[in-house]
């Protein structure tokens, strides 16, 4: 712990200095400010998590991801510095808050995970079924390490997914339909549980998609899930909520999942990202 903190503090200062726009802010500061502004029950529900934010175990995952990102890897033995996340090859500052976005080289709207898979398979040459690409769900997967690192470079930046390309708008609009689409034995849609503030399922306070101050925390993934003791992704959350709804398993990287993430990111527009976050 001590080691990590002495390492992290200068790193944070460096990052803050490097971004002239001054957008980068550590996740615990972003969250504290949002709480002060909104006083939302969802944001404040776990006192224990708030206390632990500065010691978020996901910080380790971020560090491991940073090393992996810059290391030449895969059959082609190149790093991910050549991967374009939307703001140019290797540019990560504020890149994630502007995803999902349209990529001309694939002709698709892609979220962070899908873009990362694209670069690992094309640029680095990993096979689709290589564990580096395929294993996506634990803190010790390359996928979660890399996503955590790339995400962390957007902490404090306001969500700002582009809607310039017609496909970006089409995906966002279809995502809204998917969010409200009621089906299955419980007649649930995402909106059943996420369209009012202060409501609870059992003891969990639910985030409201109509409240950007709450919703930015809801969609700030990667996050360390205390209940799982693992860092989890947006795609993992989508899958989990479909499971809770008693609907079928959402396919990671499918256009349906990306559409949903396009809509949920648009709903947090303008509010600062908390990356990496901690959740229950």
């Amino acid at each position: 712990m001590l080691n990590k903190r002495t390492f992290l503090i200068p790193l944070c200062l460096m990052m803050a200095g490097a971004s002239a726009a001054g957008d980068y802010r550590p996740p615990e500061d972003v969250l504290a400010e949002l709480i002060e502004k909104s006083g939302s029950l969802y944001l404040t529900q776990s006192e224990q998590n708030l206390m632990m934010m500065a010691d978020n175990p996901a910080s380790w995952t971020v560090e491991e991801g940073e090393a992996l990102f810059h290391e030449p890897r895969g059959p082609n033995n190149v790093s991910l510095e050549g991967c374009d996340f939307g703001k140019g090859p290797g540019v990560l500052d504020g890149a994630y808050v502007e995803m999902p976005r349209y990529f001309a080289d694939t002709g698709r709207v892609m979220d962070l995970e899908t873009r990362l898979v694209h670069c690992m398979t094309t640029l680095q040459g990993f096979a689709d079924d290589d564990p580096a690409v395929k294993s996506r769900h634990g803190s010790n997967s390359d996928m979660m390490r890399l996503q955590s690192y790339i995400g962390s470079k957007s902490s404090g930046y306001p969500w700002n997914p582009p809607l310039d390309h017609p496909l970006e708008t089409a995906m966002r609009d279809a995502g809204k339909v998917l969010f409200n689409r009621r089906a299955g034995p419980m007649d649930f849609s995402c909106a059943t549980c996420h369209s009012e503030s202060g409501k609870r399922i059992r003891a969990s306070v639910l985030p409201n998609i109509n409240s950007p101050e709450e919703w930015t925390k809801a969609i700030s993934w990667p996050a360390y899930r205390v209940g799982h003791q693992h860092v989890r992704s947006s795609q993992h959350r989508v899958r989990g909520c479909y499971w809770q709804m008693r609907q079928g398993q959402s396919v990671a990287g499918s256009d349906a999942s990306i559409a949903l993430i396009s809509y949920w990111t648009d709903a947090a527009r303008g509010q600062p990202a908390i990356l990496p976050d901690m959740k229950r």
Binding site: R202, R246, Q249
Partner: protein, 225 residues
């Protein structure tokens, strides 16, 4: 099962809807030329958005589950506050039509069994960690959304508090019949409510609903203490 029957009619409609947007040759259609509704259907059913082949507990596949009946389709378009009066009236009548009463009328069951059902969120989950209904019966999960027994503090608030339900309303046959209908198919009274149709969708049996009613209404139930 009731649920499978209802969705079968929706299936034909959903497929028609999808084929208007998708191209027959298997190429990706132009998403920007589709309505958001058509694109959403396409993404689920034609573009591998959801694993449609997996088996469900009701004996069909996920594909059937993802298809909507008419009530679900209308209620996907808004809430009681935003939908047109005609739509809500249609939903209320679909809700009423879905209600099947037990032979010999509705009677209160066993509140202790009802309590178990109210607590249990088991059932119908698929994709990973599938719920095996042969090992345990699915629950109603009332506590996810409602307060009931005043001693239970981990209760949800998406629905109204039902604490003292029977104490406040009495246990007349009219109250028992009304409550049965609400649990069986709540849209008959509250069109496009968030609440599941536990009876009409085959989540709970008539006997299980009778047990849940006892938990709500029986003067001996902890809900009314």
């Amino acid at each position: 099962m009731k649920y499978a029957k209802v969705t079968a009619t929706a299936a034909a409609g959903a497929l028609l809807f999808v084929s208007t947007g998708a191209q027959a040759n298997g190429e990706k259609p132009d998403y920007t030329a589709m309505t958001p509704e058509a694109l959403a259907e396409y993404l689920i059913f034609e573009a591998n958005g959801i694993k449609l082949d997996q088996k469900t507990q009701e004996g069909a596949t996920v594909k059937e589950r993802q298809m909507r009946d008419e009530l679900q389709t209308i209620c996907s378009g808004g809430t009681r506050a935003t939908l047109a009066g005609d739509d809500l009236a249609k939903v209320a009548s679909l809700g009423r039509a879905g209600i099947v009463k037990p032979e010999g009328g509705v009677k209160l069951g066993d509140w202790k069994k009802g309590q178990e059902l109210a607590r249990s969120g088991f059932g119908f989950r698929v994709g990973h960690n599938n719920d095996d209904h042969s090992t345990r019966e699915p629950g109603g999960n009332c506590y996810a959304c409602h307060q009931l027994d005043p001693k239970e503090i981990a209760y949800g608030t998406l629905g109204p508090s039902l604490m003292n339900y029977g104490k406040l309303r009495g246990n007349s046959q009219a109250i028992i019949d009304y409550t049965y209908d609400v649990v069986y198919s709540p849209h008959s009274f509250f069109p496009c409510t968030h609440m599941p149709r536990f009876g009409a969708n085959g989540v709970l049996t008539q006997q299980q609903i009778a047990d849940v009613l006892a938990y709500l209404i029986d003067p001996a139930s902890p809900v009314n203490q």
